[in-house]
């Protein structure tokens, strides 16, 4: 059992690429922390530095109070689960799981006992004498977990352990991982690019982008109060909708309509000094079929008419997609970059499409004009220049140290 302290840990590759830039974070004993971000954001590099598989260029890494910057992986008391599982193909499951103990010269009786116990936990007992090649993907994944558990280490490191599984198995194993971690109470650092895994598994989630730590917090915190445009766009599925807005006469004018602004938010936007242009972020669930909103709730938001392009019924909810007129004057570059990071650019969906999650009882039909309502209270307002969430600052008061995203020019693609 151990806590991990990363103090301005930096990784610079020999070719000069900055993979991780001054990453600072305290991970408490027994905590389950998720590192999440788009590919190339430096999350795996960070994990490898904790494991000792990559050198730390600058900064200090402490595990259980000891500085381990230069300690070999074997002296750090860690176990790691790899994306490809990295099972030794020439050893049986039993040998795979007992390999670390054997290297540590543990008596054979103890090894057998521990392997049997781990196999029981993971339901692998009948597979102990098979080789990895004869196992299914899920079984291999469990062996990889078993290999980590057997060691009884003070820290678990997991590098996208579920990304090679099919969707159904992934959900099952996600619960399994969570259960095992709770049961063992071992400090765990888990890397993933899947924000659903991040939201469901972690006690705390650290969002990274281009080597910079963007925000650390509980899943709810990240969802409700993203500090900047990137975190807002990355966390949540479907992602937050962004659109341009202009501040005029105390109102926020968007292509959907005019929002009333609170005084604090208006002051914050004005003091940001970025002029009157802002980016407005609205989560899909902030929208609702206007017909289902009671009259006294309506003034909290605005009502607008639009034609529905696509309607997806999920049973419990309905997702509707509609196109919103492209606004002039929005800092589109920032939004496009965001779309790229979140992979939306690959799907061909343009940034102009808005997703709304409506109640399943809605009467809205595909291809028809509909009247929708959007809640203005949960709206996020971002500074288009820095990406900072202004509405958050307005809520918590100024002086909140939110890391600004790196200027686009410095973004070296790092893998």
């Amino acid at each position: 059992m151990a806590e991990i302290v990363l103090d301005e840990v930096t990784k610079r590759f020999p070719d000069g690429a900055l993979a991780v830039d001054k990453f600072s974070m305290d991970i408490a004993d027994g905590e389950f922390v998720i590192l999440v971000g788009p590919s190339g954001c430096g999350k795996s590099t960070t994990l490898n530095m904790i494991a000792g598989l990559e050198d730390i260029t600058e900064g200090e890494l402490r595990i259980a109070g000891k500085v381990v910057n230069n300690a070999a992986p074997k002296d750090r008391d860690i176990a790691m689960v790899f994306q490809s599982y990295a099972l030794y193909p020439h050893m049986t499951v039993r040998q795979n799981m007992g390999f670390a103990l054997k290297l540590a010269k543990t008596p054979q009786a103890t090894i057998d006992e521990k392997v049997e116990e781990a196999a029981r936990i993971l339901d692998l007992t009948q597979h102990l004498d098979r080789r990895p090649a004869n196992l299914s993907g899920g079984q291999r994944q469990r062996v990889a977990m078993g290999r980590a558990i057997v060691r009884d280490p003070s820290v678990f490191l997991m590098d996208e352990p579920l990304s090679n599984l099919d969707a159904k198995l992934r959900v099952q194993m996600r619960t399994e991982v969570s259960r095992i971690q709770r049961r063992l109470g071992t400090t765990t650092v888990y890397v993933t690019h899947d924000q659903t895994e991040a939201m469901t598994l972690g006690d705390r989630v650290a969002v990274m982008r281009s080597g910079l730590l963007q925000q650390v917090g509980s899943p709810k915190e990240l969802y409700d109060s993203p500090v900047n445009l990137f975190v807002a766009g990355f966390i949540g599925s479907p992602a937050m909708n962004f659109m341009g807005g202009t501040l005029e006469e105390g109102k926020l004018r968007t292509s959907l309509g005019d929002f009333e602004l609170s005084d604090r938010l208006r002051r914050e936007v004005e003091s940001a000094g970025s002029g009157r242009e802002v980016i407005v972020g609205l989560r899909p669930e902030n929208f609702e079929d206007a017909a289902m909103i009671s009259a006294d709730a309506r003034p909290n938001g605005i009502t607008f008419r639009t034609s529905i392009d696509v309607l997806e019924s999920m049973g419990s909810d309905v997702y509707v997609y509609f196109t919103q007129a492209r606004d002039q004057g929005v800092n589109a570059a920032e939004l496009e970059e965001l779309a790229e990071d979140s992979g939306r650019a690959d799907t061909g969906a343009s940034g102009d499409t808005v997703v709304a999650r409506l109640d399943a009882a809605t009467g809205v039909r595909e291809g028809q004009e509909a009247e929708l309502w959007v809640d203005g209270r949960s709206m996020h307002v971002f500074d288009p220049a820095t990406g900072r969430n202004l509405s958050l600052a307005a809520k918590d008061g100024p002086g909140d140290a939110a890391p600004a995203p790196r200027p686009a020019a410095a973004d070296g693609e790092v893998t």
Partner: protein, 277 residues
């Protein structure tokens, strides 16, 4: 493959037959010679009119052949062992590490493999005489290792490249030292490659004639192929064709069996790393 017509079958069959015959007739002629009596050596018939095992008996009972045979086996095995151990370490470095001069190393290895041996014999002969390696086992082992290494490095680095790097990371996290990671995880997985390399290097050593004839002067270090020229006939006036043929068969047959036996492995080793995740 498409179904072939009878015409194609006949065509291919004939072609195959011609190739096999061309390759095998000299070998069969050699075998035939080795069973002929000394007086019937000039008999042009393919099948000996009078069979004798005297040539074999004679060859296997003269020190001029037995000692070189032992030398061949000893020198071959030692050279192979040293080459494979060194080549696997070098190949591992080439496949895994980034270090200054890596491309120079690979280039040099290739250069050595390309160099015509005959051009090196004279300088090496002088060097060996000067430092006292002439006519000794090390005098042959060292050049064999030098020329076996490039081949070994090439084959083995291909194997190592196919072994996922994560396995090694896993071994390190599991508490292995770099040496343990290599011996307990990487080397067992590259074993097929090592066997292939060993076979090929051994064959090269076994078949070598240029070095063997140049760097040896007595049977204390002469290898079997070189010793053929020194076999004598039944009397001073007989040409030792029969004994030479018999000795050649003794040298050749084990290799043919060996290669047939390991053929599948050699081909697999040359083409792929044969490691499945």
């Amino acid at each position: 493959m498409a179904v072939s017509t009878p015409r194609q079958k006949v065509g291919w069959g004939t072609a195959n037959l011609v190739v096999v015959a061309l390759a095998l007739i000299p070998v069969l002629w050699l075998v035939s010679l080795s069973f002929k009596t000394p007086t019937a050596i000039l008999d042009p018939s393919f099948v000996p009119s009078q069979w004798t095992t005297g040539n074999y008996y004679g060859v296997l009972h003269t020190a001029t052949f037995i000692r070189p045979l032992i030398n061949s086996i000893g020198i071959g095995l030692i050279s192979t062992l040293i080459s494979v151990v060194l080549a696997s370490m070098a190949a591992y470095a080439v496949a895994r590490l980034r270090f200054p001069g890596k491309s120079v190393l690979i280039g040099m290895a290739l250069l050595i493999a390309m160099f015509p041996l005959i051009a090196l014999v004279t300088p090496m002969f002088n060097i060996e005489r000067a430092i006292g390696l002439f006519n000794t086992w090390p005098g042959l082992i060292i050049p064999y290792v030098a020329f076996g290494l490039p081949l070994g490095i090439y084959i083995l680095s291909a194997f190592f490249r196919e072994i996922p790097w994560e396995l090694e990371k896993a071994a390190k996290v599991d508490g292995a030292t770099p040496f343990q990671a290599f011996t307990k995880v990487i080397a067992p997985l590259a074993a097929p490659g090592m066997v292939t390399t060993a076979i090929l290097i051994f064959l090269t050593c076994w078949n070598d004639f240029i070095f063997a004839i140049s760097f040896t002067s007595t049977i204390s270090s002469r290898t079997a192929p070189a010793s053929l020229a020194f076999l004598s006939g039944a009397s001073t006036f007989t040409v030792p064709t029969g004994p030479i043929a018999a000795a050649a068969v003794v040298i050749t047959i084990p290799i043919i069996i060996f290669v047939l036996f390991f053929q599948r492995r050699i081909v697999a080793g040359l083409t792929s790393g044969a490691v499945k995740g």
